[in-house]
Each structure stands twice: as structure tokens, then as C-alpha cells.
């Protein structure tokens, strides 16, 4: 199957699934020309939009091919590959098709490798759960640079899978019984989980990106070789958020070379610290001095802390923030007084955005403090139930996890891979500040040119490169 970051996508057509209308991620979505009313003229019009190729023989009862459908009708069931004729994204093409062919199109069913197309919601509603498809082919973020971070290019090296390193996902909650979290070794190592569905879906998504087993079903965790652990920011009785204290608790549980992923953000002064649905003005929690100091204590112990930059669209260099994110005085061996020492991760456009790839998403916080980026949109992972299963279920998957939340787990996993390989080769981990420097320096650069002379372009906002593990391994002599 073509990976998600290219301009083609396999999809299936199943007229029997018409009761299900799923809102797939556009770039992963596919049309379902299930209507028998496709005329030659309409079919030609459809084929002007994209290239359609049969993937396999249609069922016996419907021997028509795409070619014959031009003069007759589309078969009852047909598997096709959609391919863009130009560099436009599939999302754009599919939106156009959906709009223009609304009468003929019923629903969309992506076809993961090696299984037939089945309607997820229909499957969930009828008897025993069907085996989860293998979505690994859609994990373009694990592939080679410049589109991915290069996990696949170093995976053959001994130790380069997180082995011997512990990674904690610190946030609110998870669907702890989810199949993608089955390999987690330390469920709720610290804290009490939130029961809010928003947290649970979010945590499941993040946890799966890190820890999902490489078993041919669902997705493959990027640090599947690491010891996985989950810790909650909630604790105490009555239960409430204790971010700094829980970082301290994680620090006590971890050792040098381990990784702490901090997946939380807070409303900042731009909105008078009030929450907002769009998360405007949100900041990384290291803005608050207690959290910053707790992170610094982790760094001092040799623990790498990976932190979401936040989705507030905020310039972290803004003087209004009073230098809270200043790195003045920091070097590769020392921390300046305002520097938490975390690897701060912004959200970049995914590769299918063409020349916008790796430019900052409009909501991503930005500024000199950011070290690097990950995919901030269209990330396939567990949770939410948009492409498989149902929300809150044990086998749910989404194709559109996004935000700095989707970006940071990729980096945390990459850090675990670097540290595990470093330990394997040199007998000890690299220092957190050296790792941070490597991730900020070696990768696929973000576009820096504004589209015009105005300078008013998201691309000039600094979020740093999409790290490339091959370049980092070269720089740190890890090959």
C-alpha cells in the first residue's frame, strides 16, 4: 500500500456499508462510488479528478471493471486505487469529489494491507470484534527523512528500539484496556487517572504512538522496545492536578537515559489564564516556575524531558512572557536560569502539504525556545474511533490525531531510540542537553522563506527541524 505521505491511496468500495458514513481524515479518506447510477459522462468526470486503478478482481457477481464502468455502471463492489495526477493532496481531491459526486458517493472505506474493507462502526455493532487491520503502512512519520523521522533507517541496529530505556507518558488519562496499550509495563506508575473522555482518548493516542506492539495489527509503537509507563498529573484526595509534584514522582522512578514525555499545556496570560475551545494563548507548563524547576531536576538526573510547545499560537519570545522561555546562559553542558532543559516540540505540517511541509501549523506555539517539530496533523494512532472501532473502545483508531500532542510522542520515541543505542554502544546514555542539541540541529529543516515579501507567513515562525535519526546517529557516532 502506498504510504500516506504520497499522492496515492488504496480504498475499497462496499455498497453494503452504506449505513455508515464516517468522517475520515481527508488525506486518508476515500470515495465510495457505490451508486449504480454512474454514467459514462460522470465516470469520465470522476476520472478527470484522479487516476483510478483496480486493485484486485471484483467479486464474481460483479465482473465489471473500471474501464467497463465507463460505458455501463460501477460494479456493486470494487477495489480501486486513487492516485493524484499532480501534487495536490488527496484531501483536496477527495473533498472535490465528495462535493461534486454527492449523489453517487455513499461512504468511504480505507483498505489497510491484507484485509478486505469493512465498515468499522458496523463491525463494532455486530457481535465479536473483528481483528484490527494493520495500519502500519500509514505511519509515514516513522519513515525516512525528509517526510519522516527515520526510525525505519536505524531499526536494524542493536539497541535502536528503546531497549533498556523507560519512557513515561505523563498526562491525564487513558483507555487502559486498549489493545494498543497492552505492552505498557507500568500502568499508572504514579497518580490517579482522569475519567474524562478527552483525556482518555488523548492518552490512548499518545501511548499507542510510543508503546503499541509491533504485532501486525493497528499501529506499531515508535519506541516499542522501551519499557512503557503511564503516569497521571492527577493525585491526592480529593483528586486534582499536581503537575510539578507528579514530575517529581516520575523523576524518582526514572534513571539517567530515561525519557519523560510531558503532554499537557495550560491557558496563559493572553487569555487571562482562562480556557478556550480553540486553545488560543495556551502555553507549555514549563512557563510555571514549579513545573520548570521540576523539569530541571529531571535534567540534572540525566532524564530527557520532552515537552509539548502548546497549541496557543503564541510567540514564546514575546516580551509579555517576561523571558520565561529564555535560554540565555544555556550551553550544551549548562542550563541558563530560565531554561527548563526540556526538548520543546512544535507542530509542523505533514508531508502531503507540499511546499508547506514542515512549516508550522497556525496553532503551534513558536519561537527560539522550540527545539524541533513532529507531525502536527493527520497522525494515525489509537483512540477516538474515527477510522476503526468506536470512541472509548479497546480497539479504536483515528487517522487525525493532531496538535503538538501528536508531534511530541514521535520525538520522545526518537529520544528513547537514541539513548538506547547510545547505552548499547557506549555503555552510558548521552546527556539530556547533548540530546537536545542534536535534535535541534540534525533534521529536515522547516521552510524559512515567506510566500511573499511581507514576512507575514507562518513559515517564518521558528519551530525547528523535523529530526532525522540518521543524521543524529551520524552526529553522535551511533552507527
Amino acid at each position: 500500500m502506498a504510504p500516506m505521505d504520497e499522492t496515492s491511496l488504496n480504498f475499497g468500495v462496499d455498497k453494503e456499508a452504506t449505513a455508515v458514513l464516517l468522517e475520515f481524515l481527508p488525506a486518508q479518506a476515500a470515495i465510495v462510488p457505490a451508486s449504480l447510477a454512474f454514467t459514462e459522462e460522470r465516470m469520465q468526470r470522476l476520472q478527470e479528478k484522479c487516476k483510478l486503478t483496480p486493485l484486485r478482481q471484483p467479486p464474481v457477481e460483479a465482473k465489471a471493471t473500471v474501464a467497463s464502468a465507463r460505458s455501463e455502471k460501477l460494479p456493486r463492489r470494487q477495489f480501486l486505487e486513487v492516485e493524484s495526477g499532480d501534487r495536490r493532496s488527496l484531501a483536496t481531491i477527495l473533498k472535490e469529489i465528495e462535493k461534486e459526486f454527492a449523489e453517487e458517493i455513499l461512504t468511504a472505506l480505507p483498505v489497510p494491507p491484507s484485509i478486505p474493507a469493512i465498515a468499522p462502526a458496523a463491525a463494532a455493532a455486530s457481535g465479536p470484534a473483528l481483528p484490527t487491520p494493520d495500519f502500519h503502512g500509514y505511519q509515514g512519520y516513522s519513515g525516512p527523512a525528509p517526510h519522516g523521522i527515520g526510525f525505519s533507517a536505524v531499526a536494524h541496529l542493536p539497541g535502536a528500539d528503546g531497549q533498556g530505556v523507560t519512557v513515561i507518558d505523563l498526562e491525564g488519562g487513558w483507555v487502559l484496556s486498549h489493545e494498543a496499550l497492552a505492552a505498557v509495563q507500568f500502568n499508572l506508575w504514579s497518580g490517579e487517572p482522569s475519567t474524562l473522555s478527552g483525556w482518555k482518548e488523548h492518552g490512548t493516542a499518545v501511548g499507542s504512538l510510543l508503546f503499541a506492539e509491533r504485532d501486525g495489527a493497528g499501529i506499531s509503537g515508535l519506541a516499542a522496545g522501551a519499557r512503557g509507563a503511564l503516569a497521571s498529573i492527577y493525585s491526592g484526595s480529593p483528586k486534582r492536578q499536581q503537575v510539578a509534584q507528579q514530575i517529581d514522582a516520575c523523576r524518582d522512578l526514572l534513571n539517567a537515559g530515561d525519557v519523560l514525555l510531558l503532554e499537557v499545556q495550560r491557558p496563559g496570560p493572553a487569555t487571562e489564564f482562562q480556557s478556550s475551545p480553540q486553545q488560543t494563548g495556551y502555553l507549555p507548563t514549563s512557563f510555571w516556575p514549579d513545573v520548570k524547576e521540576s523539569i530541571r531536576d529531571c535534567i540534572a538526573k540525566g532524564i530527557c524531558v520532552v515537552e509539548v510547545a502548546g497549541n496557543g499560537g503564541v510567540d514564546l519570545d514575546d516580551p509579555e512572557l517576561q523571558g520565561a522561555f529564555s535560554q540565555e546562559g544555556s550551553t550544551v553542558t549548562t542550563l541558563g536560569p530560565e531554561d527548563s532543559g526540556s526538548i520543546m516540540v512544535g507542530a509542523g505540517h505533514a508531508p502531503w502539504r507540499g511546499d508547506q511541509a514542515r512549516s508550522p501549523l497556525s496553532f503551534s506555539n513558536y519561537g527560539a525556545r522550540l527545539d524541533c517539530q513532529g507531525w502536527g496533523e493527520g497522525v494515525i494512532c489509537a483512540g477516538y474511533g474515527e477510522i476503526w472501532g468506536s470512541p472509548g473502545g479497546d480497539n479504536s483508531y483515528t487517522g487525525n490525531f493532531y496538535g503538538t500532542s501528536s508531534a511530541a510522542p514521535m520525538i520522545a520515541a526518537a529520544v528513547a531510540v537514541v539513548q538506547s543505542r547510545h547505552i548499547h554502544k557506549f555503555g552510558q546514555p548521552a546527556s539530556p542537553l547533548l540530546v537536545r542539541q542534536a535534535f535541534a540541529s540534525f533534521g529536515s529543516a522547516q521552510p524559512t522563506q515567506a510566500a511573499d515579501d511581507s514576512g507575514d507567513d507562518d513559515r517564518v515562525r521558528h519551530i525547528g527541524p523535523l529530526p532525522d535519526l540518521v543524521a543524529i546517529f551520524n552526529a553522535l557516532n551511533l552507527f
Binding site: 498526562e171 483525556w199 492518552g203 510539578a244 495550560r266 489564564f273 480556557s275 495556551y282 510555571w288 497549541n311
Partner: protein, 79 residues
């Protein structure tokens, strides 16, 4: 609202200083940071939506408080 309050006051002193306009309760253990000593507290106005319910103004007017940092609830990093 939850606040980190940089102060030399103990919780009881702060409570007395805010009375009768607001009540204060411990939200988390006080922390001694490089930047100073901070109380982690919930402050609740006695009469919501009144002239005395402006907590930043209320806290800013108390001698012995050097800095007041609101601490909103953390949220997931995915909009």
C-alpha cells in the same frame, strides 16, 4: 482560582489577610524554588461577582505578596 503565590507569609497569615473578602485553601504543598517560596492555593471570593471578587487586585494589595501566578487546569495538547 488556583494560584502560586510568592510570599513569606504562612497559609494562615494569608487567610487572615484575605478575610472577609476571600477564603484560601491549600491546593498543593508549598514549594521552595530558586525563584523563592511559593504557596500553592485555591482562593475563592466570599461574594462572587462583587467588587471584592477581583482576586488579582485583592492579592496584589496585600503586603508580603511578591508575585501572583494563576494556575489554570492543564489540558491535553491536542485541540
Amino acid at each position: 482560582m488556583r494560584y502560586l503565590i510568592k510570599t513569606t507569609m504562612a497559609l494562615q497569615e494569608l487567610s487572615r489577610a484575605l478575610a472577609p473578602n476571600a477564603t484560601v485553601a491549600e491546593a498543593g504543598p508549598a514549594v521552595r524554588l530558586a525563584a523563592g517560596y511559593f504557596l500553592d492555593v485555591d482562593v475563592t471570593p466570599s461574594v462572587p461577582n462583587s467588587a471584592t471578587a477581583d482576586l488579582p487586585a485583592l492579592l496584589g494589595g496585600i503586603d508580603g505578596i511578591d508575585e501572583v501566578i494563576p494556575v489554570p487546569d492543564a489540558e491535553p495538547g491536542s485541540p
